[in-house]
């Protein structure tokens, strides 16, 4: 498979910013994995005095919030929700997008026409408005937010997959497969798809970043699951106290920003590594 070439990591690591992004991502994953060990009890329980500033008390390195919950614990547990929603929303979007894009390009004709009109339909509905509607209808659980974000994020991936498939569909190696009598589904899955994937992977990695921004906005607006620790929700909860304790909003916001920053940098690095022809653009 084209994706697994040995020099991939070396090419990726040549982009220093991408390497920094990868380090941040690994750190956040480590934090998410360590969360149950570091803070084994419910992160949303009250553990100390309210509105303690960061570094004021060694027990609460990031301070406490408006009702005395440990911000560090919320950040650590929030990392889990953030990563899970980002990853699975992007996977959902990729799955829908690749299926629709590949089907449209492979069959062409009225199938292509129909699926592209469908894609346009999803493109003109403002994403966040649509996500909020779905979440308000289905309820703000982690699964529902993931599905909602996935459902609004696939159009770019579908268009890209379609474009890649169109350039690959009539290449010689595909004709050779046809001549050998290979069934369509095998040509698509085993021959065309792996060649179409590299640019799609870049877009999927960027979709993780935008999914995290979507999730944080939903939680910030108070439509997420109140039982799950979330960075966006904490930003929203700290908003009423910006005069006395603005750090409550600031800390989780920095976490969101670092996470999105890291994923964007990784996306750029993947682009350099997977699409070497585009490197100098």
């Amino acid at each position: 498979m084209a994706v697994a070439t040995p020099g991939l990591f070396r090419r990726f690591a040549r982009n220093r910013a991408a390497l920094l992004g990868l380090i941040i991502l690994i750190a956040v994953i480590a934090l998410a994995l360590a969360a149950p060990t570091l803070y084994p009890r419910n992160p949303l329980r009250i553990v100390g005095p309210a509105e303690l500033w960061p570094l004021q008390d060694p027990r609460f390195p990031l301070g406490t919030d408006s009702i005395g919950r440990n911000i560090a614990a919320i950040i650590a547990h929030g990392a889990r929700a953030t990563l899970l929603i980002g990853l699975f929303a992007s996977l959902t979007a990729t799955l829908i997008g690749v299926t629709i894009g590949a089907t449209a390009a492979w069959f062409g004709g009225w199938v292509d026409e129909l699926l592209m009109r469908l894609t346009e339909m999803f493109q003109v509905v403002p994403g966040l408005v649509f996500v909020l509607t779905i979440v308000s209808i289905l309820g703000g659980t982690v699964q529902n937010i993931t599905i909602a974000v996935g459902v609004v994020s696939w159009t770019g991936i579908a268009r890209l997959t379609r474009a890649e498939f169109l350039t690959l569909r009539d290449r010689e190696f595909v004709q050779a497969c046809r001549a050998m009598g290979m069934p369509d589904w095998r040509i698509v899955l085993a021959e065309v798809l792996p060649n179409a994937l590299p640019p799609v992977i870049v877009l999927s990695s960027l979709a993780v970043a935008s999914a995290i921004l979507f999730e944080s906005a939903v939680s910030f607006l108070g439509l997420g699951d109140p039982q799950v620790a979330s960075w966006g929700r904490l930003v929203g909860e700290g908003r009423t106290l910006i005069r006395s304790s603005w750090y409550i909003s600031a800390v989780p916001g920095v976490a969101i920003m670092l996470m999105v920053l890291a994923l964007n940098l990784i996306g750029d690095g993947l682009n350099d590594a997977l699409n070497p022809k585009l490197r100098n653009r």
Binding site: A17, R117, L118, E120, M121, Q123, V124, V125, P126, G127, L128, V129, F130, L132, T133, I134, S136, I137, A209, L213, S216, A217, F220, L221, G222, L223, G232, V235, G236, G238, R239, I242, R243, W246, S249, A250, G253, I256, M257, L258, V260, L261, N264, L265, R281
Partner: protein, 323 residues
Amino acid sequence: MLRLLRRRLLQGVPLILGVIIMNFLLIQAAPGSFLDVMSAESQVSDPAMLEQLRVTYGMDQPVWLQLLKYIWSVARLDFGFSYRQNMPVLAVIMASLPATLVLMLASLLIALLLGVTAGVVAAVKVNTIWDNLLSFLAVLFFAAPSFWLGIMLTVLFAVKLGWVPVGGMMSITASNQGVVATVLDVLHHLALPAMALGLFYAAVYARVMRAAMLEVLSLDFIRTARAKGLGRWRVVLAHGLRNALLPIVTLFGLQFGTVLGGSIVVETVFSWPGLGSVMLDSVSSRNYPVVLGVLVFSSVVVILVNIAVDLAYLRLDPRIRAR
């Protein structure tokens, strides 16, 4: 040009129809109807009364009939009735639309000014400290959630420095001032929300602009212009910028919908009385006629903006006209 306009408008019709059907069915899938919330809020429990309300809102009819009726009324610009504001949905949207449009346009203006300038400077001074600094800022603002940026800007400029108000669209005393004073008052309130929403797009434009400028500046006609003896900035601005602006115009159309979504969140942060506040209120109170109305209305706006962008392209790029 007129033929293109007509063709694009005709293509827009099935698209809008699709959007209406999709969103209508989505909302039909909701477990509770707005009648539940409504009856709970006004404490109506009489079954006969509830049944009568169901008939009033046409909810006793089969879904397909409700859908046809809805499409027919949308075609006549009737988006239904909002019991919460006790006025037609379109009136609710129209009442809050100006505030949102002001916010969106101000943000896009900031984004264009900052983004294009930063992109041009970064491209002209490529691989210098300026380029690095601007690219770093772009990456940073590209990753910052707008609501958080809004809160941080408020902490700095409203709470600590006291330069601008914390929220709202105008001061309470604004109504008995002159027109000029009112406009200044709104601009004063607008500064922070427009920045919070605009800086993200400034970052996007800066990145795109830098790439487009680098590409254009390496082309032959730029070298010709330089060889003619034109000044450096004259070449950059008159020859380079004009050609590099095209991708920005495309982005503008594509992102109109996301700016609209972004304004929902930013409006909440700054208590800006726009469409976002209405949408959020309707979503949390299951006021689905308004939710559906905002979805359909904003989709129509996005379609129209994209048609306008296509037409603008026709004027900006002679190569397209020739085809």
